[in-house]
Point group: D2
Chain length 338, copies 4
């Protein structure tokens, strides 16, 4: 950490900063610049440094953090890729994995039919919403536990593991009885109670990036889960909120190589939410794999115009099959399989 | 709702849209434009209209919603201002109310001392965090229930009602035993499980706008609470996330008159989070009141450089007192009191 | 165009809207919804419709545009891909073309050396800045016309056409004497005087998206150029400004399939500005081609740490050669060449 | 400037950084942190430091700038407020000044009538567009020089100085013959050729913030003008582009106290563009003055529904008069006049 003093800082103000650093158990290292005195904080101490304690001191202009605020998620401390087992494959391994299914589980028949189609077409896991976070209290909120039972039945029939969202700490235990992967939705990425709870669960976690969260925020949320000794965490880019209105969200393809550089965790892409329109899902799925994504998660529905939710961004079966074969070609072009 | 067909839409595609509208219990009204056929949906029906079911139909270019998606929060349906009782005053009445206190409750002594100062200086209610949502799992997470007990003691001493954040459905019942106002933090604005739970509680709610939420999203979240028959809801603008880096967030002052136009609920401003720097809190508090805010919530700490959290944006006592008198002058200039 | 009246609109207010529509030479088509009266504007007239004239009328809630505001740039009116000739190839044809070179032309030797390397490595055209738009008046502003002469010499030696930015109407004529392609930089995307001037020039134009411009804004700026009968326009996605700080800009990969759907003009990608870091340029170049980009423009420098500008995002020669071969593989995976 | 080395940086890489610093004429100051070596750059040298030259060196993690990149605009170097004369008053003095007029000058009669009304109602200067930057090439582009002549006539009749936009270097000389204040529009804030030209003109400049420009970008653009010895520059906040759709732009009220802290130049507010809706203009004008703005610029039109442009955000005469008296009350509440 570096403390930059204001040009007019008195020697007393500088002394106060140094005293504070020493009280926290670190050493202060002074540099006198043209205008500014700069105080470096070096050494180690059991007391964590709180930037704000320094930035709110008298005559401090700003405080610059040098070290990343996450440790367990950091590639610097864990240089080797973490691989998360999924249906006999490894998310984060050489093979690009595909997770697919409807936005909402609408009926027993629906989810079983889709599961069969998805397995046939090459999906590794089945997604489906039992509890749906909906902007409106008047929208369909999901079939709840019944939907989880139907998904479990679909798993029995197809062997596909189940990926489903958990929205609340009170649901975690119950959802764990059915789900193979707990999804933390974008709106809950900074629901820290929930992150702690799913961290404790030791279940595999699919953590979606919040729509206004930075890559660093996402890694800090992953750190919550990892801090419980649960390192089966997949990160998911699903688009951020910007001024652009032509798409539902702006898929931040940059985040893929950035995350691969900063963390050892696998990174997957959600081009359904990342675009909001079924006609753009396939090109963005290709782009994500070309950029280095370890997997793709997409919404599929046999009749999107009848879907209870997210119909506009759901692929039909034939489009899904086409996407799989296009992803295979792109994967091969970056020396991977799919 | 209006369905705009693509220029090349066949008459079959248009018929399909009409049939769907009729199946949903509405009437279709056709207009033939220069390029586009437009199908208006009119009448009433028990079946709610799902935009996506139409937007994902063949040859539909776009679907335009006409009516606001919220009803209970809408000024159209409830033209008269809702006033929320707070310590003998009314949030949403003529008087501009001030809620103040530390970011975190750090100790029994701290919160009692601050409460006394705040009452003295003219605050209507005391804020303080017992459960803190922190980006890092390594940061101070709050003293929990103990902090709530200390706040209750501070209330006994000062008469100031307590405003405190609840982060999780599992905490709601317990927090309700101590708190007068439940705060829903920005990161939980779309935690719909929590919104339902606090709606059921019938406690007064202070709902903060999410940092990437639109005004409409905020009103939809309020609708969740209101749909449980709980209409004691105060909305809070606390800054949104933008590209600007000179401040922690961008305080969206526009949202104040916009919300006053769209909803009957009281609107308060948080210039502490809205700016992130104590030196900008007072001018932005003035601006918020000038724009029509019904109240202000600010962070205060006797020694910001020693605060456990948010020290950089906390006012000292003397600055707080100055803010109160400046707000009184601005309030008078818009024919209100403070 | 559709005019949505406020729920409380009087019949007089509705009549006024209808009269205005008729005065503009169109026909009004009324629909009575549950809450709102909706007035559709149909027919044709020489008077263009001004949305704001209607939206500012009494009791009008909002005005919804149905037709895209651009015509010449629209794929609807020009379904066939426009191909822009470049060095014997076609931008917008099957082959993915690569434009490369330094951010600034620093010396005669530098640009000639780089040009030779680029041609060798497979570039189709040479980019280089003679006039540099710099945030700071104290930064290097380019060598001006001298740099253009050096580029012309580099073209003679290599056969590579020259792509260079023109910043001001007063420069257009002079720059046209040297350049094969006039680049309009992101900061000038809505410099309408400049767009008119380069439109008149009939030179090939590379139009970069402004950092806070929507896709529709970009197409409207293209429309300025096209309205002068100059249809040799390439559009360039180069990243937009968002809250994310891990990269210089957020490369909006969605815009590639969106633009390919909305317009017939070729679309190229600038992963150098789109990321700001050389280590992310190649994965994003791959992603852009996978998403459907017709070409890529990148910054290359033999010694980035000595570059006068944009060193941090410039590829070294060996990285550039690697990028070319990676793009070739991705292009093949989407049935194109490179 | 501070250079932060990567944790794995070799001593050779560190030496290279030091050598480069010394070659640039500065001294290097090393601090050895827990993970990172940090190299401070101290001293003075005629060679300006280029951050990118260092950030692109081997094993450099990041470069942190300490000193603001602007000098002439900086309050640090010029602590006393700059006052810009306007019609016998001073923008940046105690009195809050109001600039008002139509978006476009539509006719001789229109501008003369509006000018009379504005003077009567208390405006200090008359705004009006002769050259209009329009997103669409098909929209009204302004009456050009003729409009300037009409404005000059309005000035003769009322004594109000003229504020009008100049869009292109080629127009500057001509516009200077008529205008008292040259406005640089948001879309041209980083048109550096134009900034240089108006800087040379020695005319008073009203510089609007670009819709995706940071406060620092705005000050750098001001620096361009100031670097020509022209310090009669007023800065104008007019809203930035965000995800919020309820208003045309998001008026960044924070920027007002931030700018007042960082620079000595006067700061004015444009609530017309800052909101886009006439009904929100007055509350945001009040907010801006409460936050410390030195002046306000607004659009006024006798019949907004007939305006050639920006009708939706134009105040009628009576609303304008009401705004003036409301601003006077707010100004008094912050110890100013209006």
């Amino acid at each position: 950490m570096i403390v930059v003093m204001k040009p007019e800082a008195s020697s007393q103000a500088i002394s106060n900063v140094i005293s504070r650093i020493e009280a926290d158990g670190y050493k202060a290292h002074l540099s006198q610049g043209e205008q500014h005195t700069i105080v470096g904080v070096v050494g180690e101490s059991p007391t964590p440094l709180r930037e704000e304690n320094y930035s709110s001191m008298e005559s401090v202009e700003k405080v610059v953090r040098i070290t990343a605020p996450y440790k367990l998620a950091s590639r610097h401390f864990h240089p080797i890729d973490t691989q998360v087992p999924l249906n006999g494959s490894q998310m984060g391994g050489n093979k690009v994995l595909i997770i697919a299914g409807p936005c909402s589980v609408e009926s027993r028949e629906q989810i079983i039919e889709i599961a069969c189609e998805m397995r046939e077409a090459g999906a590794t896991a089945l997604r489906g919403g039992a509890f749906k976070p909906r902007t409106s209290p008047y929208s369909f909120q999901g079939h709840g536990e019944k939907a989880l039972q139907w998904m479990a039945e679909a798993r029995e029939r197809t062997g596909l593991p189940i990926v489903t969202e958990v929205m609340d700490t009170a649901q975690v235990e119950m959802v764990c009885q059915y789900a193979d992967v707990l999804q933390i939705g974008a709106r809950n990425m900074q629901n820290f109670s929930l992150l702690n709870k799913v961290g404790e669960s030791q279940h595999t976690i699919l953590l979606k990036r919040g729509m206004s969260s930075t890559v660093e925020d996402l890694l800090m949320s992953a750190e919550y889960v990892l801090s419980h000794g649960n390192n089966r965490v997949m990160l998911c880019e699903r688009g951020i909120r910007t001024f652009e209105k032509a798409t539902r969200n702006t898929f931040d393809v940059n985040s893929i190589p950035v995350l691969k550089a900063l963390t050892h965790l696998p990174v997957i892409a959600d081009p359904s939410h990342g675009t909001g329109y079924s006609e753009y899902v396939i090109p963005i799925a290709r782009a994500a794999v070309a950029a280095g994504a370890d997997g793709v998660i997409v919404e599929v529905h046999p009749e999107p115009e009848k879907a209870y939710s997210d119909g506009r961004q759901s692929l039909r079966y034939d489009a899904f099959r086409s996407m799989v074969s296009q992803i295979q070609r792109i994967a091969a072009a970056v020396d991977r399989t799919a």
